[in-house]
Structures are given as structure tokens and as C-alpha cells.
């Protein structure tokens, strides 16, 4: 056991910091709201890719560096210290790419991965449906076999960034409704295919960052299937495993946010409102506990003992921490109405934090998973 960085890791962290200091654009913390924003976001992905930072842990042949999980954690630490922009490519890189790397054909890997990492092709997820949220296996959108491929019909909703995305990945029913999760297929599709209608949905801050997608007689070829027909559930669970795990939420995100939160405390506030200072302290400690837990997970992954229960525990911890952190930031800003020029960024951060306990398996679903897989309790009611 040694929690110090090796000289190589230290040099890696410093090189990431140096590159980010020279290249990080200002702003960009909100999901893009305009075509110019989307273009800027793609350009940022391209810059990251060209410098070799976009997808560190991927194999070199697909544009990565074969970096270790620890190097990824260090890069993310530097990224969030630099307060670098929100990445529109995150859905594809974090949710789809691990699945493609595990289940994709060589042709799919060649076609999908590099353009995704460069921001050339943006991906949106198509999981939830109006009647299938937490009970995802109840989904009804169908993929009907036709000569040469499938015909898609149905509706998907809460699809993040689909209004600006080029492609989507999701689950479609290829068997009977009673088959539940055994009759689903994982399908990749272009969002400009004939028969697709995208209806943006405004978040509570009026930003249209997600959409409902309607499929009417949409043709996709057989090559659109990721994994095997009818095996979509297990393929998708590999994706939600990465979604829930540390691949999407690096500790640097929370330690940097806790540092920014602490900067909202003035000596006057600490003296006058010690309860607020105490809550900031708790956030800081919980961010540090998350960092240490993730470092423990890295060693568990190396030992092969990291389980789905661990991923759910981590998601519960960070998603609830992030909401608490942002609520506290708004309370502190409200006490000093003109003290901080970053208020707009905090408001955006607050809105972005709220759905963390809902997407990718709600906190209730995560608790069911921990109850059954870690505590060995019976199925939940």
C-alpha cells in the first residue's frame, strides 16, 4: 500500500495540468444550447483527441493510450481542477464505448470508436420509454425483422443530447412482451434516418438538453445490432455497469467541486454561521471518502473483486453528494448575493446535479441492487 504518486504518475499529472492550462477554453459548463455551442463542444473533443487526452484508457489502435485506470483518475483530477468544459461526447465514451469494446465486431469498433473520440460523431442513449423507466425490461419499442435488417417502431424518451447527436444506441424488443429482458436487442442507429422524429424536452431551467424520439417504420441493417439478437439486456447491463461505476464519475470531479465550494466560505460566514461551515466540511470529507473508495476500487478491479454492488454503492454516494454540494453552494451564494461572479456556473451545476440520483438507475433501484447483491436480501417489494 502506498498512496503517493510514483514519479511517472506525478509527471503524467503535471503534463495533463500543463496541457489543460494552455488549452482549456473558458465557459462551456452547460450542455450546448445552440448550434455554435455544439460546434465548440466538437472542437474541444477534437483538440483533446489530437493531443491524446480524449480516451486515455482505450486501446491505442482506436485512438486511446492504453492508459491505466490510475492515469485516467489523474487526468480527470487535472481536468476538473482546470474547470474544463462539459463534454457532449461523454454519453458515447462512457456508456457505449465500453460495450462496443466488449461486444462489438471488429468492423463496428473501427467504424464507431475513433469518430466518437474525436467528437465527429456524437451519440445519444435511447433507453427509457414513457412506460418503461425504472422497469426498463417493460420497454415496448419493437425491432421487427425484415429482409436485410429490422424495422423500428415505438417511442424513447429522456434521451440526453439527442437533438444535437448524430447517432443513438438503445434497446428494442425483438421477441414477445412476456419475454421481458430475454427478448431485447441492442441496436445502433443514425438519428437522421427516415421515420425518426425528435421532440426536444426542456429541463426545469428551460434548456432543451434531452428529447423524446419517435420511431415510425425506421429501417436499420443487420449490422446495426451490437452483440447478439435477443441478448440486448446482458449487453446493455455491461453498459449500465460502466455508467454506474467509476468510469463516468471520477473523484476529481467532486474534490474540485468541494474546493470551489469551500471558496464560497468567507471568515465572516464561518463565524456567523458555523452550521454552514460544518456542512461544507462534511461535503469535503465525503468527497475525500469517495476519492479513497475509488482508489480502493481500482485495486479491486486489478484483483478482479470489484462487483456490481460496489458500482451501485459508488453511484449512491456520488450522486447524493453532488446534490448536497450544489444545494449548499446555492445557500452560500444566496447569503452573499453579489459576492461571486460564478453564480451562473453554480446554477448550471445545480441543475446538472439533480438528475444524478435518477438516471442510470435511480437511487431506489441502486439500493435494491445493493440489498440483493451485497447484503444477500430477497427480491425487493
Amino acid at each position: 500500500m502506498d498512496l503517493r504518486l510514483t514519479p511517472e504518475q506525478d509527471a503524467f499529472l503535471e503534463s495533463a495540468r500543463a496541457w489543460l492550462a494552455a488549452h482549456t477554453p473558458a465557459g462551456g459548463h452547460a450542455p450546448p444550447g445552440s448550434a455554435e455551442d455544439v460546434a465548440a463542444s466538437r472542437a474541444w473533443d477534437r483538440a483533446l483527441f489530437d493531443a491524446g487526452w480524449s480516451v486515455l484508457t482505450w486501446p491505442k489502435r482506436y485512438g486511446g493510450r492504453d492508459a491505466t485506470p490510475m492515469e485516467w483518475i489523474l487526468f480527470e483530477q487535472a481536468y476538473h481542477e482546470a474547470h474544463a468544459p462539459y463534454r457532449l461526447s461523454a454519453n458515447g465514451i462512457s456508456l457505449l464505448a465500453p460495450t462496443v469494446l466488449e461486444f462489438g465486431t471488429e468492423a463496428q469498433k473501427e467504424e464507431i470508436l475513433r469518430p466518437m473520440a474525436r467528437g465527429d460523431v456524437l451519440w445519444a442513449q435511447a433507453w427509457s420509454e414513457p412506460e418503461a423507466g425504472s422497469d426498463l425490461a417493460a420497454l415496448k419499442s419493437r425491432a421487427t425483422p425484415v429482409p436485410g435488417g429490422f424495422r423500428l417502431d415505438g417511442r424513447k424518451t429522456w434521451s440526453s443530447h439527442s437533438a444535437s447527436a448524430d447517432m443513438a444506441f438503445g434497446l428494442f424488443r425483438t421477441g414477445g412482451q412476456s419475454g421481458r429482458h430475454r427478448a431485447l436487442t441492442y441496436i445502433l442507429l443514425p438519428l437522421d434516418a427516415p421515420g425518426i422524429a425528435i421532440e426536444p424536452i426542456r429541463r426545469l431551467d428551460r434548456l432543451a438538453s434531452f428529447s423524446e424520439i419517435t420511431f415510425t417504420n425506421v429501417f436499420v441493417p443487420e449490422s446495426a445490432v451490437l452483440g447478439e439478437v435477443g441478448r440486448g439486456w446482458s449487453v446493455a447491463m455491461a453498459t449500465t455497469g460502466s455508467e454506474r461505476g467509476f468510469s463516468l464519475r471520477s473523484p476529481g470531479r467532486f474534490t474540485a467541486a468541494a474546493d470551489r465550494l469551500e471558496r464560497l466560505l468567507t471568515p465572516e460566514i464561518v463565524d456567523a454561521f458555523p452550521d454552514l461551515a460544518d456542512r461544507v466540511l462534511d461535503v469535503r470529507l465525503d468527497a475525500e471518502a469517495y476519492r479513497l473508495h475509488v482508489l480502493q476500487s481500482v485495486s479491486k478491479i486489478a484483483l478482479g473483486t470489484f462487483g456490481p454492488g460496489d458500482a451501485s454503492l459508488e453511484k449512491l454516494h456520488w450522486s447524493e453528494l453532488e446534490v448536497r454540494l450544489n444545494v449548499l453552494a446555492l445557500e452560500l451564494l444566496a447569503l452573499q448575493p453579489d459576492a461571486d461572479a460564478d453564480t451562473r456556473i453554480w446554477l448550471e451545476s445545480f441543475v446538472a446535479a439533480l438528475p444524478g440520483t435518477i438516471w442510470g438507475g435511480t437511487s431506489e433501484i441502486q439500493r435494491n441492487i445493493v440489498a440483493q447483491r451485497v447484503l444477500d436480501l430477497p427480491r425487493s417489494y
Binding site: 500500500m1 469535503r284 471518502a289 469517495y290 439500493r367 440489498a371 444477500d376 436480501l377 430477497p378
Partner: protein, 341 residues
């Protein structure tokens, strides 16, 4: 950067867990709590298997390991509910004596199980009292070792039959007080907080395991009560608390071993998080068991009481909290002086 525990520490923890499983046959733990001879036999068996040697230098018959290994042992002692001052006698006392000079014979006796030393915490409270051979007491900036016969113990009322506590009220002359340096008192306090943190995580994990097993089998309304989310989810919150306290404890132990400045904050964080998690564990454990958990006959009470004892002993959560506030204030003052960037 490597979070994985060294092999010798892993083996030590696993070995101790197995040993305690063998020693504490059904009824054995209660016997050790209620009967002094049974308690001494258990302690002797632990000593014979090396539990008192972890932090004693190898030149004096010990294993010469550090706190990263010691907390793995402390967690198992807490998980098993071993009564009395075993954390003090096996881990905290030899670590504190190791700070001074001239305690070679005492350290060798501790490793051999011939000397049972307990350590007064920041409240002046010790476990075992007259049952111990020696007591380490802080006097101002110094630490002194007393023979138990030179110390008067005043019983402090407690619910925990397995963890009798006493105020060290009067003293004769010290057996030895040599070689302690400025700062050793704070270091000694950290040793105590580390050991009790790890034991709290162990005790909390045991409560969670026994409660999960209970609710998975206890049926009401025609199904196990553990199938209701209203029962499951609070237990998951117990797991969250414990699983996020455990790596903090381990990191704190390592920080003490390599003597990093952040050990002050880390150890306080460890004790604070472990005490909070253990409190949630016994509270939820009791609620999930219903009335059976409230009885003396059922074993939950043993760990419930131990969580209360260990939480307050060697680093009361309020003192840890005060330390954390001091560190945060110092950081804030430093940030206020530095240019905002």
C-alpha cells in the same frame, strides 16, 4: 499509487478472523464477557497466535508491522466483539511505548503477553482498570507508564459488560516516563483513534451481517421482512456508511505509518466517519430486528453496546470534529491570504 493492502497485512487479518471464528464457539463470547477466567483464556489464545506482536519491533519478538496492518487486526477484534482492552493491550500501548525510549523490556513483555497495558484516552478514561498491569497516562506534554497498583480507578457507569471503563483518579509514582518528545501526545491520541475506528467498522459490519441474515429469514405478511424496501434501504445506508468509512480508516493508518502532515485530518476523519457509520449500524440493526434485538439473550446487544463504548473511547467524535474544524479554518485562513485563482 496502490491502495491494496500488503500481503502480510492481508494474511494477518484473515488469520485473525479465522482464529477468532475457532475460539468464539457459540456461547464463547458471552463466557468471555461474563467470566474473567474465560476472558483471560481468550486473551492468552490470541497472544499465543501473535495478536500482541503486530506493532512490536522484530528485535523485541514482534512482527514490526505498521498501522495499515494493525487496523486490519483491530477491525477483526471489533467484528468478533472481543471483550476488554485488547485494542489497548495489543496495539495502542505498544505503539505509544514505541514513541519513547527505554521501554524495550516492556515491549518484549507485551509481545509475549506477560504485560497488559491500557492507555488513558483524552477524557482520562481507561478500559479494564484493575484487571490491567500497567496504565499509560498523559501528563501535560508527557506520557507516563504506571503500574496498575499505583493508580486508583473510579468506575464509570456503562451498559457494556464487555468493556468496563474507569477514570484514572489518583496516582502514585510512575514506573517510567522516559524519552517522550513534544508531539507524542497527539501521536498517541491518533493511535487510539485509529484502532477504535477500525474496530467500529468491524463491529458495524458484524451488525450489518447479522441483521441482513435475520431479516432474510424472519417472515411477516407471508414473506421475509427483508424483502420490503422499507427494511432493505436503511440497511443499504448502513452499508454505505461503513463502506465509505473503511477506506478512510485504511488511508489514515497508512498516513500515520509514513508520517504525512495530512495524518491529522485523516485520522480525525476516520474516527468521525467510523463512529457515525457504527451508530447508524446499531440503530438500524436494532430497529430491523424488532423486539428480539432488545433482549439480553440475543447477541445484537453485545455489538450495540460496544459501538457506544468504542465511539466514545480514544477520540470522542466531538473531539475529532473539533480537530477537523481547526484544520478547515487553517486552510480557509491560508486561502484568504493567497490570491484567488
Amino acid at each position: 499509487m496502490d491502495f491494496a493492502l500488503d500481503d502480510d497485512a492481508v494474511e494477518l487479518g484473515v488469520g485473525l478472523k479465522e482464529l477468532l471464528g475457532d475460539l468464539l464457539v457459540p456461547g464463547g463470547l458471552r463466557a468471555a464477557i461474563e467470566d474473567r477466567d474465560a476472558r483471560l483464556r481468550l486473551r492468552t489464545a490470541l497472544v499465543e497466535n501473535g495478536a500482541s506482536t503486530v506493532l512490536v519491533p522484530d528485535s523485541l519478538g514482534g512482527l514490526g508491522l505498521g498501522w495499515a496492518a494493525a487496523v486490519a487486526c483491530a477491525e477483526e477484534l471489533g467484528r468478533a466483539g472481543v471483550p476488554g482492552g485488547v485494542l489497548d493491550a495489543f496495539l495502542i500501548a505498544p505503539a505509544v511505548l514505541g514513541l519513547g525510549t527505554g521501554f524495550e523490556s516492556e515491549l518484549a513483555e507485551i509481545a509475549a503477553g506477560k504485560l497488559h497495558v491500557v492507555v488513558a484516552d483524552e477524557r482520562g478514561v481507561v478500559v479494564d482498570g484493575p484487571e490491567a498491569d500497567g496504565v499509560l497516562v498523559v501528563e501535560g506534554d508527557e506520557i507516563a507508564l504506571y503500574d496498575a497498583g499505583q493508580v486508583e480507578f473510579a468506575v464509570v457507569p456503562t451498559l457494556d459488560e464487555g468493556f468496563p471503563v474507569f477514570r484514572v483518579s489518583q496516582r502514585g509514582s510512575a514506573r517510567r516516563r522516559s524519552g517522550f518528545a513534544v508531539g507524542d501526545v497527539a501521536t498517541a491520541r491518533r493511535f487510539g483513534a485509529l484502532a477504535t475506528s477500525a474496530a467500529l467498522v468491524g463491529a458495524g459490519r458484524h451488525i450489518l451481517t447479522m441483521t441482513s441474515q435475520y431479516v432474510a429469514t424472519r417472515e411477516q405478511f407471508g414473506r421475509p421482512v427483508g424483502s420490503f424496501q422499507g427494511v432493505q434501504h436503511p440497511l443499504v445506508d448502513v452499508s454505505l456508511g461503513l463502506e465509505f468509512a473503511a477506506p478512510v480508516v485504511r488511508a489514515a493508518a497508512w498516513s500515520v505509518d509514513v508520517n504525512l502532515p495530512e495524518q491529522v485530518e485523516r485520522v480525525a476523519h476516520a474516527k468521525s466517519a467510523a463512529a457515525t457509520a457504527a451508530t447508524r449500524a446499531w440503530r438500524t440493526g436494532l430497529q430491523s430486528h424488532g423486539a428480539i434485538g432488545y433482549t439480553y439473550e440475543y447477541d445484537l446487544q453485545i455489538w450495540l453496546k460496544r459501538c457506544l463504548s468504542l465511539g466514545a473511547h480514544h477520540g470522542h467524535p466531538a473531539t475529532q470534529r473539533a480537530l477537523l474544524r481547526d484544520v478547515a479554518r487553517a486552510r480557509l485562513a491560508g486561502a484568504a491570504l493567497a490570491p484567488r485563482g
